[in-house]
Symmetry: C2
């Protein structure tokens, strides 16, 4: 039987334990929602004051050059690249994940229109993060060219969904709800055998699990910096494009920052060479600058070390729930197989919403996702084994402490 | 003859003079580039620390509700609305001007596809801000539906460009280079008589000149918050949609934040009622929050008062250049007619780039735009009459101090 002392001992020998000091964590909170919004890096306050006082306040317009604002999307993209198996100048930090999906999807569709115009199906997953599906729907509705969306689910596995009609496969590497992870290399190879291009959404993968885009021979990837990468609320997202695709065409969100010579003020758009053409309009510099603080904290270790600790903590969470909450109707929906698990753990509970509200009231912050899902994000940069113990113990106490079959617990509410 | 003492006297009786205290301006700089990047409001530092420490650091994911992040695009949009003649819940702060042009353009094209599908021409101005033209080009290239762009210029005036083929007229209210301003109501009425929908780019108008979108019966407007509104580098832009259009269709950048019930996590996109459907992905909260500081400073006065001072200062600038620099080859390209003038003053000079570099080196920060254009932005919130005097005096001194026909001054460089 595991005990709290086992957890304290594991923390004492944890080589990553010192990284917790890189972040400013609230008192009396166990934060298990870093997969929704990461925490505040210690360096962020000083960096934000530097941007405000020196770069904006004093430097003003000159800071586009002197403070490196113009190079920020690419410079930070290059910092991120190593965490996702991307090469130099293959990633930019920009816009939002939704918008970057639109760009990647447009680019993939254009490649297929030239190579195999009969391909009119975009495959995704019914349980994909909804915005990914919404962006596909928006694109199809705009194009009016007979594209259709085909969603894989229990009744339609991927191998049946892929055929000679498929143009693009758009999947999340790690599922936002269940924490289930696809084998990126295998799925990409499977798609390629069927002639489909792949777009990977790394929102719940970047900084959470090892990703190797180039080794997987993926085509496009997008993702967010405000979850496991601790970039700050709504910090700009990223887009990666395989080098072989970057110069083949425009993407349609062709704003000034993607122009080859933006300061010529020419009336005709000429895309920049390489990944810069995936930039569009002026970026929110302050929110973008803080992305670097989170990246720098992560770059103090390796994805290998982070993955090892992440699996240890998610294993621990699962074991403790089995050991201490076995008599409650919690159904694990996250895969036990390491190769299929991301960095969060999810359970269904018939009164999931009310249980999560009770946990949050006691300072254990996870989140709730329809339907009935309690979601616990595990960020190894700042979580300890003892945090997992204390969180599960609070869960046990809450579940033991009420008759959860009573009607007042049955109501559901949408939560942010 | 005007003197520096006249300027000091004008400042002494200036009812807006106190507003300068709302901003933190660098020492030894006369900042005439607020039409490119506005200045730092005093309130921004405290607000940014509040977002970092309390909202992100302590509140974490809870701040989506408790700190009002979810309502921020709409709440700030409502604050902006009064400055541009928009109604309540008709504006949201979101994304970039370029992206908002894409949304408005898609929406306008969709309306025309239903009402008058033979209309396939998008009219804009050859001298429009280039990103506006680039976004039109990106849209046409994506749609592949036979749309074409028609640009008005000296050889093709607006009245000749408008006919029964025109779907959309996309214009900047104030030209970024010359400072020339269109008569929004007259041009909108002219477009409507020809059956065209209008999209107004207010980048150089919002906070700079009185704008009355609803009275003008315009259809769509976009604009930026980091110029005259002092929102900070790259702060999110805005989009306004006439209430009569808001519920007619999707816009194609249909991300989660525009969904009617985003937390249901439904697989099908259902647009929210009203302006919220023009939101897409997760916004950069820190950069967005600071927009409020600039707005609050502007809302301490009225656009009428700001306009009066703006015209006084641009008149003064023009007079002083005539009075003190008459022997130099400066060509005013900004209209003298108040009704056609925005809030900046521009001159061509054969060695414009080198002259502007010399001005900046002396602390008079305007900017240079191809071809040969010296641009001086006049923001009445924080500029004084004596600043205009001192700026023109520095210009005179620079022009008098060198033989500007020498070859070393003839080179040009792109500037940011």
């Amino acid at each position: 039987m595991l005990t709290r002392e086992h957890c304290l001992a594991a923390d004492a020998s944890d080589e990553l334990a010192g990284l917790r000091q890189q972040f400013r964590l609230p008192q009396d909170v166990i934060y298990l929602d870093g997969n929704s919004l990461g925490v505040l890096p210690q360096a962020a306050e000083e960096r934000s004051l530097q941007v405000l006082r020196a770069e904006w306040g004093e430097g003003l317009i000159r800071s586009w050059n002197t403070a490196g604002w113009f190079e920020l999307p690419r410079r930070l993209g290059n910092k991120l690249a190593g965490l996702i198996g991307a090469g130099s100048d293959e990633v930019v930090i920009t816009d939002t994940t939704s918008l970057n999906i639109f760009k990647a999807l447009a680019a993939a569709i254009r490649i297929q229109q030239q190579a195999a115009p009969q391909r009119k199906v975009i495959v995704s997953e019914r349980d994909n993060f909804p915005t990914d599906l919404y962006m596909i729907q928006g694109m199809m509705d705009l194009l009016q060219q007979g594209y259709e969306m085909r969603l894989i689910d229990d009744s339609l596995p991927l191998e049946q969904a892929l055929n000679e009609d498929v143009a693009v496969l758009l999947l999340s590497h790690v599922n936002y709800r269940t924490g289930a992870m696809h084998d990126m290399a295998a799925v990409t190879a499977q798609a390629r055998r069927h002639g489909a291009l792949t777009i990977w959404d790394l929102a719940h993968a970047a900084g959470a699990v090892p990703v190797d885009l180039n080794a997987s021979e993926a085509d496009f990837a997008v993702g967010c910096t405000y979850k496991y990468l601790n970039g700050g609320p709504g910090s700009p997202a990223f887009i990666w494009v395989a080098a072989r695709h970057q110069d083949r065409f425009w993407q349609p969100l062709s704003g000034w920052w993607g122009h080859s010579r933006p300061f010529d003020m020419a009336a005709d758009y000429q895309p920049a060479h390489g990944i810069r053409r995936f930039l569009c309009g002026t970026q929110p510099i302050l929110s973008m600058a803080l992305v670097e603080c989170g990246l720098d904290a992560t770059l103090q270790t390796s994805m290998t070390a982070l993955r090892e600790k992440s699996l240890a903590l998610t294993d621990l969470f699962i074991q403790l729930v089995e050991q201490r909450c076995a008599h409650h109707p919690l159904t694990l929906i996250t895969p036990r197989n390491h190769a299929q698990r991301g960095s969060h753990v999810s359970y269904r509970h018939p009164q999931g919403y009310a249980v999560m509200q009770a946990l949050i009231a006691r300072g254990v912050i996870g989140d709730y996702r329809e339907p009935e899902v309690l979601r616990f994000g595990i960020t190894p940069l700042y979580l300890r084994h003892v945090d997992v113990w204390d969180a599960v113990e609070t869960l046990r106490d809450i579940l033991d402490g009420a008759n959860w079959d009573q009607p007042q617990f049955q109501q559901r509410h949408a939560v942010t």
